[in-house]
């Protein structure tokens, strides 16, 4: 069987699209971003509890008093977790994605219901959309549409489209043929047959499809959070990568609150929008027993008034507040003039630390820094596309070699701020007799034959497998288990608590050396290579767009002591408060900000 180079064809197709249709993607991007920002401004604008009130009124209208109370409690809980903004961002993304999906899916479903040919062509296409792993098109999405909510939005639309199309088609096809015939026999035009008979009767099924679309959109939006879509997905991802159990539970629960709310509300929507649903609801109400107050549901007019009043109150409060919402930037230090600058980082501790440090500094200098967490791959891609401005954690020349090789011409190296680093294997200090890589030989039984690694994509994993193990003759004896940095740290934590022997990949600087008593295994043969330096890397035009910041970053240096204390401050501050923690650390080091970002007079 000859090798069919489908993958490389796809790759060249993507790059062709990138160069030739960028105007189209830009236009789509502008429209979608506008929609998302608009919805997000509406949902995220009001005071959280007022917004929870509005959502509760909607629940009251659709389902009754008890669901309304639970809605309010659920969203108040989300607010108390400090996840309100993320939840509203996710909700906005879900709503925009669902809207777009339905605008495409329902007409497609109608078309498919009327033509078996269309149905036959659509079916495999929908199967592909539903089963193709989302990451496969998330990354090209990033290439086309920059980092941010839009690739996530597109991926969500693709993923949630199939049930919308299928349920619409099914709904229309299962309308009793005699009814369609009756409509035709009375001289109804095909279009009126659709709007007067088929769609009203298919509506319950279509609404079930809407419900599925929204639920799938929610699940996809969370995944898209890992590609920079923001919202709860990012919160979940951040919590998971940091082994932050509490944060994971909280952000996970927030997703659940959203999911249950959306599911119950769209499920009940059918009773309000479709004549058949209203009829069924009226029947059920006639048969129901129980407290009248629990069963009472406000009419559409009453509910609308309630929502409008709450929205007006929210708008009024925002107007009143906006007066004192201005940022205070020291006179003479306003170099940024409100210019936006996008800082990207992946969840490595020194990246988190420096990114939030610089966010505070840049804010003081009048910039509007926007901080976003991404995986290294998407982040380098985004930088190369100019969709991100700068990141601070490029390990060079080894770890991030592959990215630099690939995007060398499209990136600006802003110089090293820390070095040298070192890569190593480490063992807890209670493991006696193992001090050097040479000592590992013949001790695989002690460690269960495995070395706990990090992400298989990390450069040091390649070095370890290809070079270090061979150099010391360990390659048959040990198996390197690739997982993730957080899993590695969790495993290390577990082993140390039980005083079990463990050997892990680790690097300096790392806070783990401060937290645990660990031994770095010596490397007499120098197999790990020389230490690396940590660089800040900007997009291609960074020097042109941000000349002052370029100058500051070229001179940026951080000692191991300062970095460690900053990392510890951020660790102690906890998830979601990184910015405030970095601010506190900066305040505790007076003069540092002026040293790092001097203002010329």
């Amino acid at each position: 069987m000859p090798r069919i180079h489908l993958g490389s064809w796809a790759e060249s197709a993507v790059s062709w699209l990138q160069t030739h249709l960028s105007w189209l993607f830009d236009a789509i991007n502008t429209v979608l971003t506008g929609m998302y920002d608009g919805v997000n401004a509406v949902l995220g604008g009001p005071d959280p509890l007022l917004m929870a009130g509005i959502l509760a009124v909607v629940a009251w209208w659709l389902r009754g008093l008890l669901p309304a109370v639970l809605t309010f409690a659920g969203f108040a809980l989300v607010d108390s977790f400090g996840l309100w903004e993320a939840a509203m961002a996710t909700l906005s993304l879900v709503l925009v994605a669902s809207l777009i999906t339905l605008l495409v899916a329902v007409p497609l479903g109608i078309w498919a219901a009327r033509s078996s040919k269309v149905s036959g062509v659509l079916r495999p296409a929908l199967d592909v959309m539903q089963t193709m792993p989302a990451f496969v098109y998330l990354i090209p999405g990033v290439m086309f549409f920059s980092i941010g909510p839009i690739p996530g939005l597109i991926a969500t639309v693709v993923f949630s489209m199939p049930p919308g199309v299928r349920m619409t088609e099914l709904g229309i096809r299962q309308v009793d043929g005699e009814l369609v015939e009756a409509a035709t026999a009375f001289g109804t035009t095909p279009r009126d047959t659709l709007t007067r008979v088929q769609l009203p009767l298919a509506l319950p099924t279509i609404m079930a499809g809407v419900n599925q679309v929204i639920m799938l959109a929610l699940s996809m939006v969370v995944i898209a959070g890992m590609a920079g879509a923001g919202g709860l997905g990012e919160a979940v991802y951040a919590a998971v990568t940091k082994v932050d159990i509490g944060g994971g539970v909280e952000s996970g629960l927030a997703v659940v609150v959203l999911a249950i709310y959306l599911d119950r509300m769209t499920g009940a929507l059918n009773q309000r929008v479709s004549p058949l649903g209203r009829r069924a609801a009226a029947k059920a109400a006639a048969a129901a027993r129980g407290l009248a107050v629990l069963r009472y549901r406000p009419g559409t007019a009453v509910a609308t008034v309630g929502v409008v009043v709450l929205a007006l109150v929210a708008g009024g409060m925002n107007l009143a507040r906006s007066g004192d919402d201005r940022q205070s930037v020291a006179a003479g230090a306003n170099i940024g003039q409100g210019r936006g600058i996008k800082l990207g980082y992946f969840p490595w501790d020194e990246a988190v630390a420096t990114t939030y440090l610089w966010q505070n500094i840049l804010e003081d200098r009048g910039y509007k820094p926007d901080v976003k967490q991404l995986d290294p791959g998407p982040l380098y891609t985004a930088l190369a596309q100019g969709q991100m401005d700068v990141q601070f954690d490029a390990w060079l020349p080894t770890t991030h070699k592959q990215y630099m090789d690939r995007y060398r011409d499209k990136l600006t190296d802003l110089g090293a701020w820390y070095g040298p680093t070192s890569l190593e294997l480490s063992v807890p200090d209670y493991v006696k007799g193992v001090d050097s890589l040479e000592d590992l030989k013949g001790k695989s039984g002690l460690f269960g034959g495995k070395i706990v690694g990090i992400e298989s994509s990390a450069g040091m994993m390649g070095t370890l497998n290809d070079k270090v193990l061979k150099e010391y003759g360990l390659d048959g004896e040990y198996k390197v288990v690739s997982s993730s940095t957080s899993s590695m740290l969790a495993d290390l934590d577990r082993a140390i608590k039980k005083k079990e022997p463990i050997v892990t990949t680790l690097w300096s600087p790392h806070w783990a050396y401060g937290k645990h008593q660990l031994k770095k295994l010596k490397d007499p043969k120098g197999a790990w290579g020389k230490g690396e330096e940590i660089h800040a890397v900007g997009k291609k035009d960074f020097g042109k767009d941000f000349p002052e910041v370029t100058a500051w970053l070229k001179d940026f240096k951080l000692s191991e002591k300062d970095l460690a204390s900053l990392e510890v401050a951020i660790q102690d501050g906890g998830k979601g408060k990184e910015k405030a923690s970095a601010r506190g650390w900066l305040d505790a080091h007076p003069g540092l900000a002026d040293k790092l970002a001097p203002v010329s007079h």
Binding site: D176, E178, E181, A182, F186, G187, T188, L201, R279
Partner: protein, 392 residues
């Protein structure tokens, strides 16, 4: 059989209608015309649902198409209003060739001139009873107030006054079909197509609905094509009855024609279970040769045989039968009565041309099914006239 004159007299004409499903239907029609039969076509994967069906329905007549399932009767009905396009042949209504109309014009004809009542009622479950009855008017574009008024009138006519705000799922089957009837009546269409409209109802309700239809018909004088598989229903309702088998009309005549002169064994086997005493009339079994004794009971020719039992039981004298002018036309004796009830129908082979199926009976036998309804007194005369005019 389609002279220019008839076009004006006849309200609905079907001329050599064919409907073939499957590949290359036109070729199949040619083969059928060349004498191929249905089974030969089926071997090729094409299905001939209706083969060379021709008939005329006079204005104000109830024309019943009777046949077992699969005989092609529903397909035939759907070609009359263009729900199915005939593979060959024409449908003329009011002299207009429906098969030649553009879709838009066909829709206009459907919305104003032809309405339909369905087997399973086909009520729109998302509309109230009144909205259902008003549906045809809505399609016509009648303003809301007027269409509600006319729909309410139609409901009243169908015996459902006061149920306007109910929903179809709150009604029994019989009431639902009344809504279906009201929907069909509301548009004031002249032609009513009824597709096994009463078959889904239980027997008592079905009888009520039949009575109601006949009652309405005396007032409204619609042209009705009624499909059924129930011969008793066909006999009760039909001014004329066409019996279909395997896609062909095997006999077309009045109830009496079919009962007394079945065209073939198939029709004969069909009518075995029919209550002959309610279909046969005194006029059809009387002896025209014998003179009538004085003082014997006298009945009109249209009297069902069932009503002759009492006078013949009271007296040994024969009963005198009078014609429409009240003049004695013949007598019925006890022997004749018993013989009429007992005798096996004699099959009258008819040539297989559609025209012959229609004309192959005597005009004197042109009596419709007797329904026992006093209101139906006028029907026989009408049918007779219609038949005469058709032959003129």
């Amino acid at each position: 059989m389609s002279s220019t004159r008839e076009v004006y007299v006849s309200r609905l004409q079907a001329e050599h209608l064919y409907k073939v499903f499957g590949r290359r239907p036109e070729a199949a029609v040619q083969r059928l015309e060349g004498g191929a039969d249905r089974d030969e076509l089926r071997a090729d994967g094409t299905t001939a649902a209706v083969i060379d069906a021709s008939f005329e329905v006079e204005a104000g007549q109830i024309f019943v198409v009777m046949g077992l399932s699969g005989s092609g009767k529903s397909t035939l009905l759907r070609m009359l209003n263009g729900l199915l396009e005939p593979t060959a042949g024409r449908v003329l209504f009011d002299g207009q060739d429906l098969t030649a109309l553009a879709p838009r014009d066909l829709r206009a004809v459907r919305s104003r001139k032809i309405s339909m009542v369905f087997q399973h009622f086909a009520l729109f479950p998302h509309r109230s009873v009144l909205e259902n009855a008003a549906y045809g008017l809505e399609v016509q574009g009648v303003p809301r107030a007027e269409r509600q008024e006319r729909a309410a009138e139609a409901l009243e006519l169908a015996g459902l006054g006061g149920w306007e705000t109910s929903w179809p799922d709150q009604l029994s089957g019989g009431m639902q079909q009344r809504v279906g009837l009201a929907r069909a009546l509301a548009t004031d269409a002249d032609l009513l197509l009824m597709d096994e409209s009463f078959s889904a109802l239980d027997p008592l309700i079905r009888r009520d609905m039949q009575d109601q239809l006949l009652d309405l018909q005396t007032r409204l004088k619609k042209t009705i094509v009624f499909i059924t598989h129930d011969l008793n229903e066909a006999m009760r309702l039909g001014d004329r009855i066409a019996v279909m088998r395997d896609g062909r009309i095997v006999q077309n005549g009045t109830a009496e024609d079919i009962l007394v002169r079945p065209a073939n064994d198939y029709v004969a086997s069909f009518i075995q279970d029919v209550d002959r005493s309610r279909v046969l009339t005194a006029g059809s079994i009387m002896n025209t040769q014998a003179g009538a004794p004085d003082g014997a009971a006298t009945v009109p020719a249209a009297t069902p045989v069932a009503e002759l039992f009492t006078p013949l039981a009271r007296s040994t004298d024969p009963v005198t039968v009078t014609d429409e002018q009240g003049e004695p036309a013949g007598v019925v004796t006890r022997d004749l009565l018993l013989a009429a009830l007992g005798e096996e129908p004699e099959v009258v082979p008819a040539p297989r041309t559609p025209g012959a199926a229609e004309t192959g009976k005597s005009p004197a036998a042109g009596k419709p099914a007797e329904t026992g309804e006093p209101a139906e007194g006028a029907t026989p005369a009408r049918a007779d006239e219609a038949e005469v005019s058709a032959r003129a």
